[in-house]
Symmetry: C2
Subunit: 127 residues, 2 copies
DNA sequence: TATTGACTTGGAGCTAACTCTAAGTGATAA
DNA sequence: TTATCACTTAGAGTTAGCTCCAAGTCAATA
């Protein structure tokens, strides 16, 4: 697979993919004889993994550390577990924030909706 | 309320609060005769609102726009509703990403846990 | 009265995560 | 064989969102 195909498949720019490789977030992608990246399944799996983690907001540096431990093999299992647990806690916190904000947005959207429809005439809104 | 108190109450740095005021995310805070910020309830409500939105990841520019519409009054209700709906969609998308990632983290944490405890000996892990 | 310490301002500096540029290579179409 | 086009590299530039700095003011304390 060329970088163009992978870029389309995972909706990441070619620059971003090259950046991830340069930073060691994904293992070095194999090349053709003429030096062009030729993504195999393993490369794709890594990209998919990193994209998933990044989309949820995990930091590049944290992912780098995880990948570094991963390549060191079995004896880093405990460290890796701790790292992932920490990130899980962060995500749970984020989830909470988002839910809180969603409730608030829903309240306001509903309020505006009632005002639009003329159901509600009084209108002294706090932030 | 002084900026120091507000900073502690909402867990925002004084710099951040001043930045939000400068950018127009919160209305201009009243001052004492000697020019020192004296936060009233309204100021606090705004700060609390902005903090909530920022914690969920809404962008400064979007919040600026919302605040701008807010001050224009009733006839921007429809626009405001649309803006908030768009942000709600973004949050729902984020929520989905986070849930997906949480599942993946849980799977891995559990795997590492089993390896640690010796329940699982085979160990050919993909990213 | 001198000093301390919390505040004020405008503006410069910083970090994360890309994103873009320039200069170059190699395979294919005209 | 010339031109086109997708790719390569190292490294510079950009953006969002703070964060820090310098110089100054003011009220309260030693």
């Amino acid at each position: 697979m060329t970088i163009a195909e992978v870029s389309k498949k995972y909706n990441l720019t070619q620059d971003t993919i090259r950046y991830y490789e340069k930073e060691g977030l994904i293992p070095r992608v194999p090349r053709t004889e003429s030096g062009i990246r030729n993504f195999d399944e393993n490369s794709c799996n890594w990209i998919e993994f990193i994209k998933c983690m990044r989309d949820a907001g995990l930091e590049i540096e944290v992912l780098k550390e995880y990948v570094r431990l991963f390549w060191q093999g079995k004896n880093t299992v405990t460290e890796r577990k701790q790292l992932l647990e920490k990130q899980r806690n962060k995500l749970l916190e984020k989830q909470k924030n988002i839910n809180e904000t969603l409730e608030r947005l829903n309240y306001k959207i509903n309020l505006y909706d009632e005002i639009e429809k003329g159901i509600r005439k009084d209108f002294t809104e706090k932030p």
